[in-house]
C-alpha cells in the first residue's frame, strides 16, 4: 500500500516552556497497517524566545533542543517557521563549535523547511533590482529589511536616552528592538537546513508528502498580488518610509556629528534656562516616537506569519503564528475562497492562540467561527494552547497586557485551555495526546 494512503491515528502535541516565545513539536502517530510497520512524523513549529521563564537557567533552550532531538529520535521531518521574530526563530541560532541549539536542530536533518513567502531569497534578490522600484511585492520585502535595520539602531538610541527617561519605557523599547533584530545566523541556518518551501495564502504547504493522510491548508500570509491595488500602493509607501527611518536611525544619534557642524551649539547636557522646560519634553517625544515606530514594525512583521490549518479525518489544528487582523482579513473576507475557509475553520478542534495571547491576534470574527466552543464537559470541546509569559509585553493599565486578561477569560470559558505558564522550566513540556 503506498505511504500516501496511511492515516495518522493520534497526535502528541508538545508546547515547550520557553517563556515569551513559541516552540511546538507535533508528532503524528501512524499505526501499523497490514504488513506496514507503525511510524511517526515530527513537525517542529517555531523555536524561539525573547524572554526565558522566570527563574529559568541559561541552558533552558539547549535542554529544549535536546528534548526535541530525543523525542523525534534524531530525525525531524519538517520545520515550520511562522515569521522571523526572535521569539520564533532564536532557537535556530548556531554557535561556534556546533554546540548551539540551531546546530542540534540542523543535525535532525528536516526534509522540509516551511517559511512565509517574504523569506524567499529569490524574491528578495529580485526586490533589490532596479526594475523592482515600483513593484509592490519587492517594496514590501525591502520594507522588512529596512525595518530590521531600524530595529538595529534602537539599542543606540536607548543608550542615548539612558538616565533621561523612566526605566520602564526604556525596557519596552529594548524588548521591541531586540525582538525585531535580524538574526542573521538563524535565517541562514533555516535557509540551508532542508528543502525550502515558501508559502502564501492558497499555496501548497510542502508538508503533504511528509504527512500522509493530513491535508495542510495555507491560509496566510497573502501575497501582495492577492491584495487590492490600494494595499499594494501602501507597500511602496511603506518601503520608502522605512528606508528613511533606517537611514535616519543609523545616522543621527547622540554620538554622531551634529547636524550643522559649523553652527555654534551649547555643550552636550548644558540646559540654559530658556530651553530647560522644553528639552525633557522633546526627549520624551523622541522616546514616544521610537516606541511608536517599533510597535508599527513589530505588527507588520507579525503579519507576515504563516497560518496553517492541519486537517485529518476527525481533527483540525490551527497554527496562526502571530498573525493579526490585517493578515487574517484576506483569508476571512477578501479571498475568493473566504466563505469556504470560514466553513473550514468552524470545526477547528485545536487552536494555537495567536501572538502569545495579545489583544489583537485572535480576531473576534475568528473566535466567533469556532463551533466547538462550549462549557466544561462539552464533548469534543475546543482545545486552546498558548505559549506566553506574563509581564513582558503591553500594560495592564492600558488594557494591552499579554496575555490579555479578557481573551484568557474567554478561552477558559469556551475551551480546554492550556498555557505554557503552568509548565515549570524543569518539566519543559506537558505533552497532550489527541485523537485524529
Amino acid at each position: 500500500m503506498p505511504a500516501t494512503q496511511r492515516k495518522p491515528q493520534t497526535l502528541t502535541l508538545r508546547a515547550y516552556q520557553v517563556g515569551f516565545g513559541d516552540c511546538f513539536l507535533l508528532t503524528f502517530h501512524y499505526p501499523p497497517q497490514g504488513a506496514q510497520a507503525a511510524f511517526e512524523r515530527h513537525v517542529l513549529i517555531d523555536f524561539g524566545s525573547s524572554a526565558l521563564p522566570e527563574g529559568a537557567k541559561e541552558g533552558l533552550m539547549l535542554r529544549v533542543a535536546k528534548d526535541i532531538e530525543a523525542e523525534c529520535k534524531g530525525k525531524l521531518d519538517a520545520v515550520v517557521v511562522s515569521h522571523r521574530h526572535s521569539d520564533h526563530i532564536s532557537g535556530f541560532t548556531r554557535r561556534s563549535g556546533g554546540t548551539g541549539t540551531g546546530d542540534i536542530i540542523r543535525q535532525l536533518q528536516p526534509d522540509v523547511v516551511v517559511q512565509p513567502w517574504t523569506e524567499d531569497p529569490k524574491a528578495q534578490r529580485n526586490a533589490t533590482g532596479p526594475t523592482a522600484k515600483n513593484n509592490p511585492g519587492a517594496a514590501s520585502l525591502r520594507a522588512l529589511t529596512h525595518m530590521q535595520v531600524f530595529a538595529g539602531t534602537v539599542s543606540k538610541h536607548i543608550q542615548d536616552l539612558q538616565g533621561q527617561l523612566g526605566t520602564r519605557r526604556l525596557a519596552q523599547l529594548a524588548f521591541y528592538g531586540e525582538t525585531n533584530l535580524k538574526n542573521a545566523d538563524a535565517v541562514k541556518n533555516l535557509m540551508t537546513m532542508g528543502r525550502n518551501v515558501y508559502v502564501y495564502h492558497g499555496s501548497r504547504s510542502g508538508l503533504s508528502e511528509i504527512l500522509p493522510g493530513v491535508k495542510v491548508h495555507v491560509l496566510g500570509p497573502p501575497t501582495l498580488k492577492q491584495c487590492n491595488a490600494i494595499r499594494q500602493q501602501r507597500k511602496v509607501d511603506e518601503e520608502e518610509f522605512w528606508h528613511l527611518q533606517a537611514a535616519g536611525g543609523q545616522q543621527f544619534t547622540m554620538g554622531s556629528a551634529c547636524l550643522f557642524p559649523r553652527a555654534t551649539a551649547y555643550r552636550k547636557g548644558q540646559r540654559p534656562p530658556f530651553a530647560r522646560w522644553l528639552i525633557p519634553r522633546l526627549l520624551d517625544v523622541r522616546a514616544d516616537q521610537l516606541l511608536e515606530l517599533v510597535r508599527i514594525l513589530d505588527d507588520q512583521m507579525n503579519n507576515t506569519s504563516v497560518i496553517l490549518l492541519f486537517e485529518t479525518a476527525h481533527c483540525k489544528l490551527l497554527f496562526p503564528g502571530d498573525a493579526q487582523i490585517e493578515n487574517w482579513l484576506y483569508a476571512l473576507q477578501d479571498s475568493p475562497r473566504a466563505e469556504a475557509i470560514r466553513t473550514l475553520l468552524a470545526d477547528v478542534d485545536v487552536y494555537k492562540v495567536g501572538h502569545h495571547g495579545s489583544l489583537n491576534a485572535t480576531p473576534k470574527s475568528l473566535w466567533k467561527l469556532f463551533a466547538h466552543k462550549g462549557p466544561q464537559g462539552t464533548p469534543g470541546r475546543l482545545v486552546c494552547i498558548m505559549s506566553t509569559r506574563e509581564g513582558k509585553h503591553g500594560s495592564v493599565k492600558k488594557d494591552t497586557e499579554v496575555p490579555r486578561r479578557k481573551l484568557v477569560d474567554a478561552l477558559k470559558q469556551g475551551s480546554d485551555y492550556y498555557t505554557t505558564q503552568e509548565v515549570t522550566p524543569k518539566q519543559l513540556t506537558e505533552p497532550l495526546s489527541l485523537p485524529l
Binding site: I230, L244, A263, K406
Partner: protein, 589 residues
Amino acid sequence: MSSDTTPPFRRQRFRIIAQDPSIRVKGKILTAQVEVPAEDLGPGPWGHRVHVIDYDASTQTLYHPPAYHRGRDKVLVDPFVRASDRKLLNDPHFHAQNVYAIVMRLVARFEFALGRRVSWAFEGHQLKVAPHAFADANAFYSRRDESLLFGYFPGARGQNVFSCLSHDVVAHETTHALVDGLRKRYTDPSSSDQAGFHEGFADVVAMLSMFAIPEVVEMAVDLNWSKRKKPPRQRNGSLLSTGAMKVAELRKSVVLAMADEMGEELSRVRGQALRASAQLKPSPQWYNDSEEFKEPHRRGEILVAALLNGFLGVWLARLRALDPADRGWLDRGRAVEEGAGIADRLLTMCIRALDYCPPVHLGYGDFLSSVLTADHELHPDDSLYHLRHSLRASFHAYGIEPASGGGREEPGLWLSPEAEQPKLPLNYSRTHFESMLRDREEVFRFLWENRKALGLCEGAFTRVESVRPCLRVAEDGFALRETVADYVQTLRLTPKEIRAWGVKGVENLPPDLEEISLHGGGILLFDENGRLKFHVHNHVNDRKRQVERLNMLIKFGHFNKGAESLRRFSHMHRLRALNSLPTPREGWI
C-alpha cells in the same frame, strides 16, 4: 528724530523659502519676502507669540539662538536677504527664521480674518517651535508640549531633508495649533468628518496660503503654461494662452504640476496631500459611500478637493474675464494677481468660518454653511467673484450639501434664531449686552433664560467655553462688529441609560463601560446691538448623530484604555505617511 519719538514700525519683512527647497526657478530656490507683525524680537527668534528653540533630541544638541539687530532706520535687519542657496540650506539660523516668519504670518492672517487676537489651546502665550526636533520623517503639533516639532531625515542623494523648510508643512502644523486654540473639541473623537476636518482644514490653509504668495502662483503658472502654444507677439513672457480652459485643465497644468515640483522626499512627512486632493475627481461617492474615505486623512482630502475646485472655478471665471474679446491671450501678471487674490479671499472666508461652526461634532455640511454665512455677512453681494456660488457647486459635486437650507436670500446660509424658531422669542431683558462682550457668566445667564427657545438639553451640564468680541474688516473697509460665544453641553450616561434615553442602534458597547459622555453645543453670534444673529448648534439630544458617533468610536477602538493620545497629530501624520488604511479593531478590549 530721537529713537523715542520714532513711530513704531507695524510690519517686518523676512525672507522665507516660498514652498520647499526643491522648487527652483532658473536653478535657484524660490524664496519670497513676507511681512509679519513687527515686534521686539529676542534671540531665537523669540517673540510674543512664538519662541523658536533649536534643540535636536536625536543628537541632543542645542544650537545657539540667532539674535537680530536693527539697522539705521530702526527696522530689524534680515541677515538672509541676499544669502546664497547653500547658506539657506545649511544655516540653522535661517531655518529658525523661516519657521518663525511662516508661523507669525499665519497667526497674523488668522487674527486679521477673525478680527481679534487668537489664543493657543494651552495656558502659555508663546508657542514653542523646534525646527530640528528629531531625526524622523514627521512633523506635528503637540498641545501637551505646547509646541510645533519638525523632523529631518537623510535624503536619497545624501543631503538632509528638513521639514521646517517646507512652507506647506509649517503652515499645516501651525494651522493645527491655531484651530486647536479656537476649537479644542475638534480633536475629540466624533464623526469621520470631524476627524478629517483638522487634517483637511490644515491642508486647505497650507494650500491657499501658498497660492496667496504671488511668486508661487507665478512659478506654478509658468510650469506648464509655457509649454502651450506661444502667443503671436510674446513680450517677455507677459502673455499667456487661454486655450480651452477648464477647471480640470487648470488642475492639471497648475496644481498637479505644482505637486510634481514639490519635494518627493518631503512628501514622506505626511503624504502627497496636494496631489491626492487634486487627483480626486468630483463625485459624491467618496463622501457618501467609500469606507476608505472615512479614514481621517482621506476624509480630509475630500474637503481639500472641494475647496480646490471651488478656487479653480472662480479663478477660471476671472481669467476668462481678462480676455473679453476672446483673443486667446491674457496678461500673465493679471492672471497671477487674480490667482493670488482669490486664494487670499478664500483663505479669509475659511478662517472666518471657524467662528460660525458648531464647537462639537462638526460635519462638512456645517462647515460649508459657515463659510457661506461668514462671507455673506461681509460681502452680501457675491456677483463680482461668485465665490459662494462656486463653492456650493464644488461641494455639491463631492456630495457635500450645506447643513442649512438657507432662506430666500441665498441658499446654504445659517438662519437667524427668529427664522428657525419663530414661535419662541428670545428674552434679552435679564442680561446686559455690555457684559456679554467679555463675561462668560453673563452669556450663561442668557443661555439659561433662553434654554427652551434655544433648544438646549435641560438635564445636561452646560458650560460657556469662551466669549470673544471681534471686529472684522472687509477688503472695501466695511467693518463688522460681532461677539462670538460658544458653549458645550455634556451628558454622562451609563450604557443602560443610553438605551433608555432612546439612543438605539449602538452595537457592541464594551460591557464594563461605566459611563459614556455625550456632547453637544453651539455658538452664539451676537451683533453690535447685542441681538443674537446666529445660533449654530449640534445639540446633545440629536440621537441620530450620537448613534453615528458611538458606533464610530466602538469600531475604531476609542473606548480602549490608552486609546486617547495626547500627541494625536503625530500619530495621524505617521499613518498618512504610511498611507495606512483603516482596519476595524477586533481586539479584546
